[in-house]
C-alpha cells in the first residue's frame, strides 16, 4: 500500500521528478490484435491499456438498430489483476459512467451517419491501472478507431490535469491522484481544439480552472502528436520506398 507522502511537491519538483507540465512516458502500438478490425495498445506511465474496435457490424439485439446512423458502444473494463486489491470482474458504477461519457466523446467525431443500422463496438481493457486510466483508454480507443478505418472528423486526444499541494500539474501519478486536491480529465479534437470530454473531481478556484484547462489542452496536443506518429509508423515503410 502507498503511504501518504508528507508533500507531493518538493523543491519545485514532483515526487517522480517530472516538471509540472510534463507527461509520463507514453508508448503507442497500432494494430497489435489480429481478430479486431482495429486495435491499439498504450502504455502511459504504468498504465497498460488495450483497445479493440469491431465494426461497423450488424447490431444485436436488433431493436437497438438506428435507421439513420450507426450506434456506438464503448466498454471500459478493468481487469481483476489491474489494481492492488483484486477488482471484482464486470462493470461497476464507476466503469459504467466512464463508458458513457467516453462513448459520447468519441461519438462527437465518428461519422455515424455513414453506417445506418450498424454498430461500432469499442472495447477497452485496463490491464494495469496507475491513475489516468480513462484518458489512456480514450487515447487507445481513438487510435483503434482510426486503425479500423472508421471515418471520423479527427482523433480524440485526452489528458488529465490535477491539483496537488495547491499546484496544478499535468498527468497525475498514482500518488498525486490518491492524495491530490483535484483531478480533471479532458479530451480534445486536436485539429479544432474543441473539447469533447470534460470532468472534474475535487476542488479548485475558477482562476485555477482556467489555467488547468489550458494545461490539459497542451497535454492533449502532446498526446495527439504521439498518436499521429504511431499511426504513421504502422505503414512507415511506404513513404520512403
Amino acid at each position: 500500500m502507498l503511504q501518504k507522502p508528507e508533500r507531493l511537491i518538493v523543491d519545485g519538483k514532483r515526487l517522480d521528478g517530472r516538471a509540472f507540465d510534463e507527461l509520463r512516458p507514453v508508448k503507442i502500438v497500432v494494430g497489435p490484435l489480429h481478430r479486431a478490425d482495429g486495435s491499439c495498445y498504450i502504455e502511459h506511465g504504468k498504465n497498460k491499456v488495450m483497445a479493440a474496435v469491431y465494426g461497423p457490424r450488424e447490431v444485436h439485439p436488433k431493436h437497438l438498430q438506428e435507421v439513420t446512423h450507426a450506434i456506438v458502444r464503448y466498454r471500459y473494463n478493468m481487469a481483476p489483476f489491474s489494481v492492488e486489491d483484486r477488482k471484482r470482474p464486470g462493470p461497476d458504477r464507476r466503469s459504467i459512467e466512464i463508458s458513457k461519457v467516453s462513448r459520447e466523446a468519441l461519438e462527437s467525431v465518428i461519422l455515424k451517419e455513414y453506417f445506418p443500422r450498424s454498430t461500432i463496438d469499442i472495447f477497452v481493457e485496463i490491464l494495469q491501472a496507475d491513475a489516468g486510466t480513462r484518458v489512456a483508454a480514450l487515447n487507445a480507443a481513438s487510435v483503434a478507431l482510426a486503425d479500423a478505418g472508421i471515418p471520423m472528423k479527427g482523433l480524440v486526444s485526452a489528458c488529465s490535469v490535477g491539483k496537488v499541494d495547491d499546484t496544478l500539474v499535468l498527468d497525475l501519478s498514482k500518488e498525486e491522484d490518491n492524495y491530490g486536491q483535484a483531478d480533471m480529465p479532458v479530451a480534445i479534437v486536436a485539429n479544432t481544439g474543441e473539447i469533447a470530454f470534460l470532468q472534474m473531481d475535487g476542488h479548485m478556484t475558477q482562476e485555477e480552472f482556467r489555467k488547468a484547462l489550458e494545461m490539459a489542452i497542451d497535454g492533449c496536443k502532446q498526446i495527439y502528436k504521439l498518436q499521429r506518429e504511431a499511426l504513421l509508423a504502422k505503414y512507415g515503410g511506404l513513404e520512403n520506398e
Binding site: I195, M200, L213
Partner: protein, 270 residues
C-alpha cells in the same frame, strides 16, 4: 440527445429560436424554471427534501446507520448516493437495475457532496476502525421534465442540511443535527450552438448537442464538473459557461438558504 425521437422540423424550430436567444417555453437563456424546495417531507427519514424545477420533481431521503468503515479511511463516515429512475416518472424509465443515465446522475450528485466536503466525514466516526456513520442519500425521481441533475443535487444538499443523526435509535444518546460545512450547488447548461441555456427542460435536453454540469461550493470554488452528450465545445464557450453557471449557483444558494435558514445555525447545534 437521448432516445426520444423528435421530428427534425421541431429541432430546426428550436434551434432557430435559439439563434434569436429565445426558448420554447419563453424563458430567457439564463432563466431557471420555478424552483420549489420543501424539507422534512418524509418523517421516517433522517432528512428529506422535495425539489421541483418546473414540472421536474424529485424526492430525496437521507437514511443513516452505523456500519464498518472502509479499511483505508478507518476514522471517516461513508456516503452512498443512489438514484432511482422509477417508471412512474417517465415513459422512458423502465423497472430494473439503474441504467447508465441513473448511475451518471448519482455519481455527479455524489461528486458535489463529496468534493465540496459538505459533510465532515471525520465527525461521523463512532469508534475508529470499527464503527462509523453511513449516510445513504437516495434520490427518487418522481416526474422527469428535464434537468434532473440540478434538482437532485439541490434535493440532496437540502435533505442533508435537515438531517438529524439518529443517535437515540442506536443507543448513542440524543439525536444531533448533521454538521454541514459547505453547500455545493449544481448548475446545468445546454449547448445550442449560438446559445447556452441554463436549466434545460426535457425537450431541450433531447436536442441540445451537449450539457455541462458545474458544481460550486460556498466560496464560488469548483467542486465538480461533468460534460455529458456527444457535442464539442470550444474553450471560449466553456469560459462562458463558467461565468453563467457560477452566477446562477449563487442565486440557487440564496434560494436554498432562504428556505432552510442559514447553515451556521445548524453548526451551533453540535
Amino acid at each position: 440527445m437521448n432516445d426520444k425521437i423528435i421530428a427534425e422540423i421541431r429541432k430546426d424550430y428550436i434551434y432557430n429560436l435559439a439563434r434569436r436567444g429565445e426558448r420554447i417555453d419563453g424563458r430567457r437563456a439564463d432563466e431557471y424554471r420555478d424552483i420549489k424546495i420543501k424539507t422534512d417531507v418524509i418523517q421516517k427519514a433522517e432528512g428529506s427534501a422535495e425539489v421541483m424545477i418546473g414540472n421536474t420533481r424529485v424526492l430525496v431521503g437521507v437514511k443513516m446507520q452505523p456500519g464498518e468503515p472502509f479499511s483505508d479511511t478507518p476514522n471517516m463516515g461513508i456516503i452512498i448516493t443512489n438514484v432511482e429512475q422509477v417508471p412512474l416518472a417517465s415513459p422512458s424509465f423502465e423497472p430494473g437495475p439503474p441504467d447508465e443515465n441513473a448511475i451518471e446522475l448519482a455519481r455527479v450528485v455524489d461528486r458535489g457532496i463529496r468534493e465540496s466536503n459538505a459533510v465532515d466525514l471525520e465527525s461521523l466516526c463512532i469508534k475508529e476502525g470499527e464503527e462509523v456513520w453511513m449516510i445513504f442519500i437516495d434520490v427518487h425521481v418522481l416526474d422527469h421534465d428535464g434537468n434532473l441533475t440540478d434538482a437532485s443535487a439541490l434535493g440532496a444538499i437540502a435533505a442533508l442540511m435537515t438531517t438529524k443523526i439518529p443517535n437515540e435509535r442506536f443507543g448513542y444518546g440524543e439525536d444531533t443535527p448533521l454538521k454541514i460545512q459547505n453547500i455545493p450547488i449544481a448548475v446545468t447548461t445546454a449547448d445550442f450552438g449560438t446559445q447556452i441555456f441554463v436549466d434545460p427542460n426535457l425537450e431541450e435536453e433531447h436536442i441540445c448537442s451537449s450539457k455541462v454540469t458545474m458544481i460550486f461550493g460556498s466560496s464560488g470554488e469548483f467542486a465538480g464538473i461533468q460534460k455529458t452528450g456527444s457535442g464539442r465545445l470550444n474553450v471560449e464557450k466553456i469560459y462562458n459557461i463558467v461565468e453563467i453557471s457560477s452566477k446562477k449557483a449563487e442565486e440557487l444558494r440564496e434560494k436554498l438558504l432562504g428556505v432552510i435558514g442559514n447553515g451556521d445555525k445548524k453548526e451551533k447545534g453540535i
